[in-house]
């Protein structure tokens, strides 16, 4: 579904990614791990079009999307969440989700202003879809929460809302950037289940950046480890977790030998 070939990006002297190969198959969950500064978020930014790679390809269903504008990438089927949660804070919870239906809907300025039937119908549909999407998270983002401003949500709820918002764009591939960051064990467990459900019920292909190894272990079909922009290991969780290069990257030189 998503294939990254020989991807490199350079900012002058800085090389956040070098000749990276990565692929995610249909309805697979792949986790990307690595110490801070390994280039994981940069990878997401390149995939979603925020950065243009210096060389290499990003193939979505065989089509190269490298360098396309982020909104185009999204319309082609890739949605993401952000490492430090970028919600539309002053808009209500449900508006955050309803807004993201924009690329899939059509009413323009005139049809809305005139209150044409087609426009009203579409608006009701958007609202219904958003309510249904939010109910995916159970009572957390339900009912009374809809009209509250997004800035009033707790941290964990904000992360959930961000996922809901990404889902509203009806993607094929979902990029989750540290979805469990800052969550307590119970919330972490919940989010792992949610990610699994996203794959099973919504048939999504998911690429996850995570630091929490419990989550990685629990959800991944495959794990990819990066360090300094280069892939250093790939495979099942166990094989990657015990890989000497990976241990060295996290714990420093010589740790692999000591283990």
């Amino acid at each position: 579904m998503l294939e990254i070939k020989n991807l490199s990006i350079e900012f002058g002297e800085l090389k956040p990614l070098s000749q990276l190969d990565l692929s995610v198959n249909n309805q697979e969950i792949v986790s990307v791990i690595g110490p801070n500064g390994a280039g994981k978020t940069t990878l997401f930014n390149v995939i979603t079009g925020i950065y243009t790679p210096t060389s290499g390809e990003v193939l979505l269903d065989g089509k190269n999307i490298a360098g396309e504008a982020p909104f185009k990438v999204n319309r082609l089927g890739v949605a993401r969440t952000f490492q430090n949660v970028r919600l539309f804070l002053n808009m209500s919870v449900i508006e955050n989700v309803m807004a993201s239906y924009y690329p899939r809907t059509r009413s323009g300025v005139f049809s809305s202003a005139l209150g044409l039937p087609a426009s009203r119908r579409e608006e009701r549909q958007i609202r219904a879809n958003a309510e249904e999407l939010l109910s995916f998270f159970g009572t957390r983002l339900a009912g009374y929460r809809w009209e509250q401003p997004a800035y009033s949500l707790s941290y964990a709820n904000r992360r959930r809302l961000e996922i809901a918002r990404a889902l509203a764009t009806e993607p094929k591939v979902l990029l989750l950037d540290e979805p469990a960051a800052g969550m307590n064990p119970k919330e972490t467990h919940e989010i792992s289940e949610v990610i699994g459900q996203l794959r099973d019920e919504k048939k999504l292909t998911i690429l996850v950046i995570e630091h929490d190894m419990h989550v990685v272990e629990g959800i991944s079909d495959r794990v990819v480890a990066l360090d300094h922009g280069v892939k250093i290991a790939e495979g099942s969780f166990d094989s990657v977790a015990t890989h000497p290069d990976v241990i060295e990257a996290y714990l420093g030189k010589g740790s692999a030998d000591r283990k």
Partner: protein
């Protein structure tokens, strides 16, 4: 009460979330306002406004008042337009009034002897709106890549370019001609415009324009409210909130920015055309930064992004200068503002009375002081309200060198207000009546005679104070911003 708590479960999310419904009414006036707010929903409020506006049109015949109302309508159109560009999409367009001027000049050029054109209004109005919208499109093109401050800068310059262009186009030699033609009348403007006419009937008085404005503004309010609540309005707001997140959720923010710009420009152009019709003439100096400031002040005062806020802000900013112009009204206004501010800054009614008495005391002290200094005293100017006037003559004295004393008072007032903002509680108590007295003194001495300067000073002061105490404006919602 106990049972209620148990079923809801204190501390759970739902209980917390519903706390808004459980707030007890505030005391006094604020409480009544709250009650009205809850009971009368928006559609009814708009309906009330509409009825008032229609009644005004039927029962008021004073041309002066109709003129003020029409200007308010035009200004409201501008405010709504800017509200879309800045309030919804978050674009700081500092050249906005240029579109307004363009619309006005476009009308002038199509309905006057300047270029010998006399287009029927049902043709010229839509054409002007479209042309201005197109101009908005052109201006937005280079600005698309820019954000925030840079965008503001470029739009500011477009605004200035427009003014320069108009000023310099009074002698242009067109290719093929030998003489120069006067297209825009330069700094003299274009007088003698033909009035609007529909279905063969020309507009004969400002009244006709008033009715037109009523319909147009009502239509705009409905349209904009609808847009705000639906897809495009939401998308605009996401551009304002977080452009990066917005574009990652599939929204083409450049197109959205352009759209907001175009809509805003179209509205401004429409307003400009109507303005030209009402005035019967166009002059370029009405389309520069001073007007821009007023429109911005109106949007911000009311709450950027809020439609009722735009109505409120436009009303204040548009009617204020008129009120200040007539001495009767301006005195009333001053008195009202003084009392309201004093009451707001006093903790309770008892404090308020003490403050008022202190002011009176200071007045007498000053009177005695001035007598001591042997500056010959002129009794203060008469107020239209006779009893007030008598009291004032006795209480407030203006020294001989009015201008000099007025200047001192002015500097003291500004310094006093500034110091007040950082003073401790104790000092505030003493300072407040002093500042109030100085304000009254200054008003009588200088400001009442100079409405233009007074209005500007009040606008300037208001902007600063507003940003400090309530940046979201009167009817805006508190915003959270991640810097």
């Amino acid at each position: 009460m106990e049972e209620e708590n148990q079923t809801l479960g204190i501390g759970t999310d739902e209980w917390v979330a519903q706390h808004g419904a459980r707030i007890t009414r505030r005391d006094g006036i604020a409480g009544i306002v709250d009650l009205l707010n809850q009971r009368i929903s928006m559609p009814y409020r708009y309906a009330l406004l509409g009825i008032a506006a229609v009644a005004f049109g039927f029962f008021v015949h004073d041309l002066y008042l109709i003129r003020i109302a029409s200007n308010l309508g035009i200004f409201l159109m501008l405010t709504l337009g800017l509200n879309i560009v800045m309030g919804f999409a978050g674009l700081l367009d500092l050249g906005f009034v240029a579109f307004y001027g363009f619309g006005a000049y476009a009308y002038a050029l199509t309905s006057s002897t300047q270029l010998n054109q006399h287009w029927p209004t049902w043709v010229s109005l839509p054409a002007i709106i479209l042309a201005t919208a197109f101009l908005g499109y052109l201006v937005s093109l280079p600005s698309r890549r820019l954000f925030g401050d840079y965008f503001a800068i470029v739009t500011l310059f477009f605004g200035q370019v427009f003014i320069q262009l108009v000023l310099s186009s009074d002698s242009i030699t067109l290719p093929g001609d030998t003489d120069s033609t006067d297209i825009t009348g330069g700094s003299n403007g274009i007088p003698g415009l033909y009035p609007f006419s529909f279905f063969g009937r020309s507009f004969k008085s400002t009244s006709d324009y008033y009715w037109l404005l009523l319909i147009v503004v009502a239509g705009l309010l409905i349209a904009i409210t609808r847009i705000d609540r639906t897809r495009v309005g939401r998308a605009w707001r996401t551009v304002r909130e977080d452009p990066l997140a917005s574009i990652s959720m599939g929204m083409n923010i450049n197109n959205l920015k352009t759209l907001a710009f175009v809509v805003g420009a179209g509205i401004a152009g429409f307003a400009g055309a109507i303005f030209a019709g009402v005035q019967g003439a166009v002059f370029i100096n009405g389309f520069d930064i001073p007007l821009l400031t007023l429109v911005y002040a109106a949007v911000i005062l009311g709450g950027s992004g809020s439609i009722p806020g735009a109505i409120m802000g436009a009303s204040i900013m548009s009617v204020l200068p008129e009120v200040l112009r007539v001495q009767n009204y301006s005195e009333f206004l001053f008195l009202a503002v003084l009392i309201i501010t004093l009451r707001a800054l006093s903790k309770n009614w008892k404090r308020f009375v003490i403050n008022v008495l202190s002011i009176v005391a200071i007045g007498f002290v000053m009177k005695a002081l001035l007598a001591l200094l042997n500056t010959s005293l002129t009794p203060s100017t008469t107020w239209a309200i006779a009893p007030v006037s008598k009291v004032l003559k006795f209480w407030l004295v203006l020294p001989e060198h009015r201008i000099a004393w007025g200047n001192i008072a002015f500097v003291l007032l500004i310094a006093g207000i500034a110091y007040f903002s950082i003073a401790g509680e104790a000092i505030k108590l003493i300072l407040l009546p002093v500042i109030a007295y100085v304000a009254i003194f200054l008003w009588e001495d200088r400001l009442v005679a100079d409405p233009n300067v007074t209005r500007q000073l009040m606008v300037g002061m208001m902007l600063i104070v507003l940003m400090i105490i309530r940046p979201q404006g009167f009817l805006g919602k508190t915003r959270v911003e991640v810097l």
